[in-house]
């Protein structure tokens, strides 16, 4: 248990530093269930519990995809759910990240068949995979750490060029990504 706490604290500190460095204030997560067994959802909810307290790390859950930087997706992507999943993804602003969460989302529980795509990247472009059935909150934290790095890469890859109505280019950023 002591070793667990040490790992947890180290991961937490690293995560806090990364979120602060990359995003200044906070990073917002929207969850999406595409056919889970409900256990992955419970582990995600526990991230906000006192043992893990995701908020102290600068992460927040948001119900609105339009406020979300990251989509945490569980389940094997039921075909009947694909439209809802795509709409949720499209509603998110750039830069955005998809994190496939749990064995179902990775392709380890259901095959690609008439009911499901068998994995999340059948429909959404996945950036980070978190294995586990379900992944424990600690594994989720580790996955979020990787995801923050990926999101940082995406941010630095953006050009931030907006077009004026006449078609002339103008630099809209002056370096602010947070």
């Amino acid at each position: 248990m002591t070793a667990d706490i040490a790992i947890e604290e180290r991961a937490a500190a690293e995560l806090r530093r990364e979120v602060a460095r990359q995003f200044g204030r906070s990073l917002h997560i929207r969850t999406l269930d595409t056919g889970s067994c409900a256990a992955c959802e419970q582990e995600i909810r526990l991230l906000a519990a006192p043992h893990y307290d995701l908020h102290r790390l600068g992460f927040f859950f948001t119900p609105a995809p339009r406020h979300a930087d990251m989509l945490l997706v569980t389940g094997p992507m039921i075909r009947a759910f694909a439209v809802a999943a795509s709409k949720t993804y499209e509603a998110m602003p750039e830069p955005k990240l998809v994190v496939a969460t749990g064995a179902c989302a990775l392709g380890g529980v259901y095959p690609d068949d008439a009911f499901t795509y068998g994995r999340v990247d059948g429909v959404l472009p996945v950036d980070v995979w978190i294995p586990g059935c379900p992944p424990s909150p600690l594994a989720l934290l580790q996955g979020l750490l990787v995801a923050v790095g990926r999101l940082a890469e995406k941010v630095s890859g953006l050009s931030f060029i907006a077009r004026s109505p006449e078609g002339a280019h103008e630099d809209a950023t002056a370096g602010g990504a947070a």
Binding site: C37, A38, L46, F61, A84, P134, S136
Partner: protein, 535 residues
């Protein structure tokens, strides 16, 4: 061999002392309505499930729980035509299954009542998604039927979902409202339907168990146990006593973490952050305890066909359980002493005793409405002794009654785990140690039958053996039916987690003079899963 008698109930009586806990009897299509009426009226009988299999003819099976008789009665009726008597007119609990059977097997109740879609989504622009079925397709797919607009012209529908709050399962609600009051509520769940019964076909029970546990991860032990029992009955094998005890310990740990999660969700729904944090501390402790004792936070992989895979680390269990329980008990007592919280739950989401019986509800939802059903007491299985005593439940039927039932059951589960660790002490398993609760309920008649006696099948059937299994999940009775072919592969498996029964009480609870903001509270107090329903 099936049991015969002039009626199914006389067949049950005739079978007394000679048969196992499951009686199977044939009923002709012509007699089905009359016999359903007779059994539905019998005291202590409830319709626990209804399902079909085959194509020519479609075999319609009704599973009746005769709780006071400690037996299940299965009636099986071959349907040669396209329809059968409208059983939901007699036993309203059958409506969901009538819809499901039409979708999967193409036979419908007579009378042309509108049926809802259950697993097959409506066309999404490119025509119907053609999903594999368990039987033959219906002549015409059901219309996408909405709830009746009972206040014509004055109500409107408010669609909600399938993507909902953070960290909760996808579900589509149709809310019919006149502004604030919930006039009606209906649900569509095809967004989560994974075809699990279809997936089991052609597999060995051991192979299928992987998906059965994942049908509803928060009920992996109970659903796995029910399924394993059904397969064991079909195979004619019985797990050893230590394996049964191991399953029973895991089952109580599953109940404990689910009740803790429900209490946390109730606090969240009421905006009580301190209460939620306290419950989540206990919840995380319980998950860590599961991992220490059985090697998995959600107890996957404990149950096996014919036994249990994992031997529990009893030392870790003895060391860790008191702390987690203490945390949960203190939190529960504080909640019951918090008037603003108690007031919010009182009279919210009321399910009357009449509705609970009519809809065949089970588990804490039924027990909080004065319907004391619990398969650990009413149907013999597992290592439970004749003198097992468990909390009887609560009257009231509201969210507060459901919370009290859960708190009572937390205490009883801890006692039961301790007793299972020390089998000699099983007789002392008691009910609540919380003040102001109704007394415990006992199984005074004891366990008369040998559990897992193979269910008799029809003589001369070309295919092999079948069996019914059950277990008392944290949400109530979980049932499973397995029929094997001559190679020992699954021909038909029916999975009926408790969520399948209890969601049908949810819209009743939401309608009973509630407003929008009550819905999350009611949902938390039911603590069901969409996964268990849309399996």
């Amino acid at each position: 061999m099936t049991v015969t008698g002039t009626t199914p109930l006389s067949a049950v009586a005739a079978a007394a002392d000679t048969q196992g806990p499951v009686v199977v009897t044939d009923v002709s299509a012509a007699d089905l309505a009359g016999i359903t009426k007779e059994v539905a009226r019998a005291p202590g009988a409830r319709l626990a499930d209804m399902f079909a299999d085959g194509t020519d003819p479609v075999m319609l099976r009704l599973v009746w729980a005769l709780d006071s008789d400690q037996r299940y009665l299965i009636t099986q009726t071959p349907i040669d035509t396209d329809d059968y008597p409208a059983l939901s007119d007699i036993a309203p609990a059958a409506f969901v299954e009538e819809c499901e059977i039409y979708e999967q097997f193409g036979v419908r109740p007579v009378g042309g009542k509108p049926l809802n879609r259950v697993a097959i989504p409506p066309p999404l622009g490119q025509g119907d998604i053609d999903l594999p079925r368990l039987g033959r397709a219906p002549a015409e797919l059901p219309q996408d039927v909405h709830a009746p607009h009972v206040v014509g012209g004055q109500a409107f529908e408010f669609p909600f979902g399938p993507v909902r709050q953070v960290g909760v399962e996808s579900l589509y609600y149709g809310l019919v409202t006149s502004g604030e009051e919930v006039v009606d509520l209906y649900m569509f769940t095809w967004h989560k339907h994974r075809g699990l019964e279809w997936r089991t076909q052609g597999k060995t029970p051991a192979q299928a168990l992987f998906h059965v546990e994942r049908a509803e991860g928060l009920g992996a032990v109970a659903n796995g146990w029910a399924f394993a029992s059904a397969a064991e009955a079909a195979l004619g094998i019985e797990p050893s006593a230590p394996a049964q005890r191991c399953r029973a310990i895991a089952l109580e740990l599953e109940r404990l973490y689910n009740h803790a999660a429900a209490i946390a969700a109730l606090c969240q729904a009421c905006g009580l952050a301190v209460g939620r944090a306290a419950a989540e501390i206990a919840l995380e402790q319980l998950h860590r305890l599961n991992a220490a004792v059985f090697g998995h936070r959600y107890l996957f992989g404990v149950v096996d066909i014919g036994g249990a895979v994992v031997t529990p680390d009893t030392q870790a269990l003895r060391a860790g359980l008191p702390d987690a329980y203490g945390e949960l008990r203190r939190g529960g007592e504080a909640l019951l002493a918090t008037n603003s919280f108690v007031d919010r739950l009182e009279a919210t989401g009321t399910v009357t005793e009449e509705a609970a019986r009519r809809l065949g509800l089970v588990g804490p939802v039924a027990r909080a409405s004065g319907v004391a059903v619990d398969t650990r007491l009413d149907h013999c299985y597992g290592p439970y002794p004749g003198q097992l005593r468990l909390p009887a439940g609560q009257p009231g039927g509201d969210a507060l009654a459901r919370l009290k039932v859960m708190l009572d059951e937390v205490a009883a589960s801890v006692s039961l785990v301790n007793a299972l660790l020390d089998p000699v002490g099983l007789e002392q398993v008691g009910g609540s140690d919380l003040p102001g609760r109704s007394g415990p309920r006992s199984n005074t008649s004891g366990c008369e039958h040998s559990a897992n006696t193979p269910v008799r099948t029809r003589p001369g059937r070309p295919t092999g053996r079948s069996g019914l299994g059950w277990a008392e999940s944290s949400r109530g009775e979980s049932l499973a039916w397995v029929e094997l072919d001559s190679d020992g592969l699954i021909r038909r498996a029916r999975l009926r987690p408790a969520a399948v029964r209890n969601w049908r009480g949810f819209d009743d609870a939401c309608r009973s003079q509630n407003v929008f903001t009550d819905i999350p509270i009611i949902e938390a107090s039911f603590w069901l899963t969409v996964a268990g329903l849309a399996r």
